[in-house]
Symmetry: C2
């Protein structure tokens, strides 16, 4: 019998009716003769409510306690889902991350999976049971509960699929798959039947909310095909895989965008070795994630350094950068919180001329000014004004003929 | 250093402010130089809410899943309490029942503790930490979560106190201790400084809500002194212990009452061997708890059989008893849902004449009719009309001079 690992997100199990709906989907997979393991997130806003509860007690909840607290959300939803299946006449059992053998390091709130011991899962599958696993959580060597941070339940699902030798990991969510652009911005956007790991990684990293990059990376590492589909419809989703067909298409696959971008420019930076480290090391220590960094060509050994951060981190970043700029003899620091990012992702970009030119001219035709550019082998990203993002995505979708 | 085990009930940790209050009390115990282990129940109505959630999904939640679901309530409160202590600058760590080493049988929803392996607790205490344990839960040999049923957190606390060799188990609740009668009925009721295990057991079994009989029994078995006190005041509570002073007082200690009583009489029962079993075995199988049973002396081999059940079980009991009565050739079944119970508890009752007489005359002076009587070595219980209970408790409190 084939083992199928499914994952259902928080919006798919938001209330009793939705839980019953998910139970019916799981039952259908079982009825087809599969051995089914379903990973589940916490119901709807549960995690937010638990966070609020912690902060009602203290501004500084310890990470260890915080993880134990948050892990209860997934335990609740996993038991309810098992109950719903049992009520339908199926043998089902819920397992916590610990019981499912998800072993992690002790980096609370962002733990990494160090191994999976699915002994108990296999034992339950052998009894003919459907196994429901609480996502997003694991256990340390010391038997302490951890949570996996963002994208945690997706990561749990892919890790279990790998360790159980599943044929595919099915991620059920509130969208129908990966599109050529966000359908809310571009109504004519098309659902992709398949996409390569690398392209999906770039899309996820540059604003596509469908899946967290981390789970895609894990899928790529172990070559585990991931099917992303809707938990509310039966339409086929998008298969993320590493198949050969991906590599030869030489074509833009999808447009990602991100509105959570703020820009900081340090003016008049003396261009000498070690200056970048002097600026970015203190930011890294303050847990501020830097995204794109651009440094202009230096004139008279003076340059401008521009980088982007998430909007929520702008204030903290500016507080750090101001004193640093002074200490290295640079000029003022300027910030702009109203930035956005558009990205085209596709295979073979570096070998095929014209992608960049076509992107830039599509944006310029719409009067959109490009402020920063960054590229990879399969991606070109332009930082532009926030207000231009919607038009930019539409224009790029048309320019690369993605509606066809 | 002395080990102190404390337990805080759901009403003591009902919200963030109350959790901080409990944290301060735990900190005070630590400041006195003790090693402190605190067992905690789920916050306020959490357990009821989780029960409701389960029944929103199915009318038949499986026991195993139900236990896992309910156990999250105590995990949440234990983490919040540990956070509150850490915020106050104390090293504190929360442990689940499993981590605390509470091993149980697999009788879900009413599991019995089969052993305690407090290795992890001792390790954390050795590090100077305060240990917060999620009450009401344990783990089976198969590493499945169980709950201990009614009085579960009290039982957890007493079991931990025994296994850790604590000097005393402190149960903090929303009352100040054990009284000579319910102070809401008898304003002049006095708080007892101490009481014996046996008396407390009878009081708890016959309506006093202070503690569940089960935890008292465990305390008696291992001779662990239990201090019951309020979590909201600093007044000394009541010490439940097995000291010698208890045995020689020959005096009524306290009056218990219970309004949750319904009466069923089977009229005209043929008095032959096996008839009681024929009636009560089917009731036991239907999980109906029978309390007092009284059978009148038989006339012409025909007798009346009367017994009491909880009000909530009356309908179910009547549905069972009707057909049974027919099948054994008895007459009709009569029920009365408006019954109550008053109980006097004290040492040496059987050896000291006059207790029963004094009780009956106190009730008769108030015009209260006694319908059934049951006794033990240290207890006399009268079943009376519900409406007479309040007056009965007052009259008995006066008759046995408990206000002095």
């Amino acid at each position: 019998m084939a083992i199928v690992v499914q994952k259902y997100g928080g919006s798919s199990v938001g209330d009793a009716e939705k839980i019953k709906n998910v139970a019916r989907r799981i039952a259908a997979a079982k009825d087809k003769g599969n051995e089914v393991v379903a990973v589940v997130s916490a119901m709807g806003d549960t995690t937010d409510e638990l966070v609020e509860l912690a902060y009602s007690v203290t501004d500084l909840p310890g990470e260890r306690e915080f993880d134990v607290l948050l892990s209860t959300g997934e335990i609740v939803s996993s038991t309810l889902l098992a109950m719903a299946l049992r009520a339908m006449g199926y043998e089902a059992i819920s397992l916590s991350g610990a019981q499912a053998g998800i072993r992690t390091d002790a980096a609370y709130s962002r733990a990494r999976i160090v191994g999976v011991d699915p002994v108990r899962i296999v034992k339950e599958l052998d009894k003919g049971r459907i196994v429901i696993v609480a996502g997003f959580q694991g256990i340390t060597e010391e038997m302490d509960t951890t949570t996996l941070g963002r994208g945690g339940s997706d990561t749990t699902a892919v890790a279990l699929a790998v360790s159980l030798g599943a044929e595919v990991c099915q991620i059920y969510t509130d969208v129908e798959g990966v599109y050529t652009a966000d359908p809310r911005l571009v109504p004519e956007a098309k659902k992709l039947a398949e996409i390569g790991y690398e392209e999906m990684l770039e899309l996820a990293s540059y604003g596509a909310k469908v899946m967290h990059p981390r789970a895609v990376e894990l899928g790529e590492l172990f070559n585990m095909p991931i099917m992303v589909a809707s938990s509310f419809t039966d339409s086929p989703g998008t298969l993320i895989h590493g198949g050969e067909t991906m590599e030869v298409r030489n074509k833009v696959t999808s447009i990602a965008h991100d509105l959570d971008v703020a820009k900081i420019t340090v003016v008049g930076v003396p261009d000498r070795p070690g200056i970048a480290a002097a600026i970015f090391e203190p930011l890294a220590k303050a847990n501020i994630s830097i995204d794109t960094i651009v440094q202009n060509a230096s004139i008279n050994n003076i340059t401008d350094l521009t980088f982007t951060v998430a909007k929520s981190q702008l204030r903290k970043a500016m507080e750090k950068v101001g004193p640093i700029a002074k200490s290295i003899g640079a000029g003022e620091c300027v910030s702009d919180a109203k930035m956005g990012k558009v990205t085209i992702v596709g295979t073979g970009m570096q070998n095929t001329p014209g992608f960049a030119a076509r992107m830039f001219s599509a944006l310029s035709e719409k009067g959109i000014n490009i402020q920063l550019i960054s590229t990879s082998e399969i991606r070109i990203t332009c930082i532009i004004d926030e207000e231009g993002v919607k038009d930019a995505v539409k224009a790029l979708h048309r320019a690369f003929e993605l509606e066809e």
